[in-house]
Subunit: 202 residues, 4 copies
Amino acid sequence: MINSAKTGSFPDKRTQILEATVIVLAAKGFEATKIAEIAREAGIGKGTVYEYFSSKEDLFEQAIQHATKMHAQMLTNALEAGENLEDSLERALMASLVFCETSRPTAQVLLNNPVGRGGASLGDWLLGFRRQMVDMIAKTIRRHRGPDFPRDPEIAANVFLGALNNLSLAQILDDGTTRIRSLKATTKEAVAIILEGLGREA
Amino acid sequence: MINSAKTGSFPDKRTQILEATVIVLAAKGFEATKIAEIAREAGIGKGTVYEYFSSKEDLFEQAIQHATKMHAQMLTNALEAGENLEDSLERALMASLVFCETSRPTAQVLLNNPVGRGGASLGDWLLGFRRQMVDMIAKTIRRHRGPDFPRDPEIAANVFLGALNNLSLAQILDDGTTRIRSLKATTKEAVAIILEGLGREA
Amino acid sequence: MINSAKTGSFPDKRTQILEATVIVLAAKGFEATKIAEIAREAGIGKGTVYEYFSSKEDLFEQAIQHATKMHAQMLTNALEAGENLEDSLERALMASLVFCETSRPTAQVLLNNPVGRGGASLGDWLLGFRRQMVDMIAKTIRRHRGPDFPRDPEIAANVFLGALNNLSLAQILDDGTTRIRSLKATTKEAVAIILEGLGREA
Amino acid sequence: MINSAKTGSFPDKRTQILEATVIVLAAKGFEATKIAEIAREAGIGKGTVYEYFSSKEDLFEQAIQHATKMHAQMLTNALEAGENLEDSLERALMASLVFCETSRPTAQVLLNNPVGRGGASLGDWLLGFRRQMVDMIAKTIRRHRGPDFPRDPEIAANVFLGALNNLSLAQILDDGTTRIRSLKATTKEAVAIILEGLGREA
DNA sequence: TATGAATGAGAGTTCATTCAT
DNA sequence: CATGAATGAACTCTCATTCAT
């Protein structure tokens, strides 16, 4: 074998299993996902899974971390690439909505909020990760708005992250039959609401 | 028998089981919740659970619907009681945060987004329920702001619902050690952000 | 209540339960027969069954003994009433076939050969009972044919009893759609075969 | 691997389970037979049973069909090998009695008449099978006696099959302590009775 | 005496995990 | 390394039996 699976950047067997896990997880939910089906989806033997992961819990943990990191990386890139706050938020929201379409299974798994599932270690990891995300959004706000920003950046970050999650969830749940607006229009409108607010007076 | 279990406001056995289910579900997560433990928590025999629910799936379904309805009722009341949009949103958000403290287990179960768990029937039910909630918020916005409201009320509703969910989740996850602001202050600030926005310019 | 259930000859509650047991046993088979269903069939509460029988095993045992005795009594009467061997055998066979029609459930239970089911005590009882039946038929043969009967009366009895059981079973199993001959004709023909034989030569 | 389990005539695991099932079924009866005990008898793990049979019902069904076919094959061979009616019947009866001694457990299961046990599908299968057996015996009678045979061959077949079953049952039930006659003698006598009859006159 | 809600021992079944090949 | 047949711990669910009413 000339080109070992371990060397190339194309999916090695580990990644292959991780991706199969996310696909099955998205299709069946946590309880109904069996190792046997993951192996079938990955096109390998059941026993092989245990060559790469020590247990089902370990596999799920890593699969969720894998998915979480992918999503987070995408958001991080978007937020950092933005030239101003509007741009950053639009890029991030747009990216998330696109992610829901292109990586549906991964998005589904993430939006099922796997906090509290699996061992405590995964819960802690996700908790820490969530904090990082909030911090990053808050930092982005501060970066664009400076230290005089009159709002609590952390709460603002939570509002934006919540909106992003919720709109992404809506995107996932709507089977595409009811979508009237384009992703772009939805993004623009949502960011407009977040930047301009609903207005104070009647 | 003067005060029948069916007539009094104290929990009958069915409700007792439902509440035990939510408690265990919150503590252990979906996969790790066993019928035996629910029975122990409810202080009854294992077999008794099956006198009131036909299967584990049925029990989970009803427990989640029970919890969902409680939360939804609370939000509905808050939104309808508000005298203007600010009031409605503040009441709803405040109520949700308070709910997280007073009914921690129920809130935990709800925020675990059980969409996609259990049978398809529960998934459909939750999907429909989520739509109802979005509609209700959108309706509240229209009620207070009239038909000339320049924003898409549905997207605005999603933004608010997302913020509410995310802040509630933050409330649940933070073990109380890191909370700097009071519930009231958090609510005020969050609603202020939603009403006034983050501002367009740098 | 003037005419207590215990005094009259009409079915008291004990007999009522016994008969319900036979009915359910015939309809569902041994494994699938539940105490709850017997109680429902008898129109009484589940707990009441235990006022009359100490356990499920006891109930089944007595129900089967009840059914066995009814059938045996009928055969005994028929055999004793016969004026010669042909008459005795015809009466017995006819009675059994009629019994299958009029007491279908009881016949079904009996023909399921419950030997070996239930506790060893029932098995022993049935074993003894079967011997009694064979003895009675053998005795009938001896009575009509005298001590010079050239055949082994016990084997002859087994042949007749087997034929009777098998034809009764056929009667039970055939849903009545395929029966060409009348009960009378079948009886006559079968007894003719047993008395005259199939013949030795080609 | 030189001598694959699939190729040899020694029992593969499926057959091994089937045979263990018959043994336990014979020893304990239908109700008392547990999967755990079958597995123990077969010398395998409980879960392994489910690698070869989808459920307890499925296993019982196949075990009974297996046993039924063995017995039927034996009878068929005997009936066909006979050179005249007497020979056919003697061979069949003898074979059945021998079968009861050599394959006691199988015989016990068969003679418990599992018609009506298990799912309706098994009941139908056994019903059909019984019809085939009667037809085969009737055909054998016609083959040896020609179309002018004065008796109804089907009833004659039922008489013989009943006698065979009943004598086999007697053979099974007698623990060997009370047997006076040899198998051969019993067979000869029984067939003599069937061929010559008990005689019409007193 | 009659009842049926409550019970829990025990059965069938699943499936993560192992290990001989 | 890769595999999947074999396994048994652990789960859900059933149902005979009890007992307060």
